[in-house]
Symmetry: C2
């Protein structure tokens, strides 16, 4: 047993050495955004620094849609919901009686009916639902890039997550999207385990089905983790105030406010979508991922704003460098 | 930085070696309960074992009241609530209009009015509430032992938590009691950080108070993490099925069922309070921590039942050995 631990630790030691031998954040240009991240991490991790933060308190929270992966032309979780609705609808004729779904039944999701979120979850067990998400993530492709949605994650943010973890941070996702649409794949894609992934959720229920315990979704919203709901989710699910928060839209404003209002050195960052060629460019007027009030708050509070076009060498892992 | 990591890892390596050089669970007698724990941990951690479980999936959940600390003559969180009610009542004359509190206002808590839980939380910020818990934990003493309540934790269970953690387990508390009565002290007392502590909770709200973001409690229950609610809490807060679950009462039954119904080797344990001399002896007829249905389930399913009197050399850390 001792030998086994020693071997594991040696491997870990070597990998840490290698990671630190290389320059951190290689896909980031050497601009103020990258320098601000590194200055913050060095300040809170350097023993004897006035800003030193013990490992246990190094909590970082990330939004998902538009912060860790793309969200255009519509939120990816909505795409899952639509695909799942279409797959289930033929077996659920009773859905036709629900008002507001007429267009959806004709395949028109230009306006997304929120009740679809509930219909697609409700009645499933959490394990059946997770399987449907895994199946979708393995096959569904983005209409413009033709890539799997889980490939459309931001290479610079993957490096940032890795850099924070190497520096003792515990990294969480706190997203307005549905918790159980993220948990089945975040560990593989971001290295963030399901128990560190929170979002909006429905109420659930424990029951015995054929003598076997299951948890099923109820048709009732439990928490919408958007805007002030993100701070509420952090309090409830994490119970420790983050020292760093990363978002991209007005829905992240309260999360960044909550994180930065704690005592000691704090860090807040917004990803600003400025690259119409490699990704999308949108902010104050967008219906998806609107960044307006939070951009003003960033300017007022000195938060770091990432200019995707100027600050990132690559956007996606599949791009050539 | 490399040198710093190397030093940290060396210390860790040495402490792991030391921990494993000593016999695990020193306060446990060499009885079937101890042997079952060790056999399980060795089976899931030994590389090449048919029961091997990767580190990421080694989740263990513990009840708190009666499992990690005592709960007689009444649940310790209730004692906090009563003390806090008494401290606040003089400043809250409006509480007198609430039906069912007549006896409480005369200092009689023989029957505990559930509304007290809500009154004591509601309106406070989460940080004010946490401070009131810390103050209470630092000063309130048990009427029979004269000890701080946080001293009345079970030495054998502290060793069990440590043993699991040394073997790569991530250890959670999932208690029927209130989350925010545990989080302020669990890290210090059990080594379990607040973000791995869940219980019953009220709804909360984000607001600006004098321009500063705060989270306050609303007078509405969000989740009661007791019985089936424990399985619901695990699904929602952890999102990964535990491979081991530890409880002491009927309120833990569904948690143990949920954990053991997963595939692969699983472990469930009940602490049976059998030691009237060193602690308390109670089970099927007790109003506090009743162990009746779960005891039958343990027998039917081959779960481990700890006989506190026979299996534990000491109960509390302050006892002489």
């Amino acid at each position: 047993m001792k030998k086994f631990f020693a071997a594991i630790l040696l491997v870990f030691l070597l990998s840490v050495s290698t990671a630190f031998a290389a320059e951190p954040l290689p896909s980031w240009n050497d601009t103020p955004a990258k320098r601000a991240i590194i200055a913050f991490v060095e300040a809170v991790t350097r023993e004897g620094s006035p800003d030193f933060v013990p490992v246990a308190e190094r909590i970082a929270v990330f939004d998902n849609d538009g912060t860790l992966w793309s969200e255009q032309p519509r939120y990816f979780p909505e795409v899952f919901m639509i695909d799942r609705f279409k797959a289930l609808a033929p077996q659920r004729p009773q859905w036709k009686a629900i008002p507001g779904l007429e267009a959806a039944f004709e395949g028109d999701f230009a306006t997304f009916p929120p009740v679809v979120n509930i219909l697609v979850h409700a009645g499933s067990t959490t394990e059946e639902f997770a399987q449907s998400v895994r199946d979708w993530a393995a096959t569904a492709r983005h209409p413009e890039t033709g890539r799997l949605y889980t490939e459309m994650v931001y290479q610079p943010m993957l490096e940032l997550i890795g850099y924070l973890r190497h520096n003792g941070f515990k990294v969480y996702i706190v997203s307005g999207s549905w918790t159980d649409i993220m948990r089945p794949w975040t560990e593989k894609v971001y290295g963030i385990p399901p128990e560190q992934v929170y979002g909006s959720s429905l109420k659930t229920k424990f029951a015995l089905r054929d003598g076997k315990p299951v948890i099923t979704y109820l048709p009732e919203v439990d928490l919408i983790a958007e805007g002030p709901g993100k701070a509420v989710a952090i309090g409830k699910y994490i119970g420790r105030r983050p020292i760093a928060a990363f978002g991209n839209s007005d829905g992240d404003l309260e999360m960044l406010e909550w994180a930065t209002a704690g005592s000691g050195l704090r860090f807040a960052l917004l990803v600003h979508h400025t690259d119409a060629w490699r990704e999308w460019a949108y902010d104050r007027k967008s219906t998806v991922g609107r960044l307006d009030k939070a951009l003003d708050a960033a300017q007022a509070n000195g938060w770091t704003v990432v200019d995707m076009k100027g600050d990132w060498k690559v956007i996606y892992p599949f791009e050539e460098r």
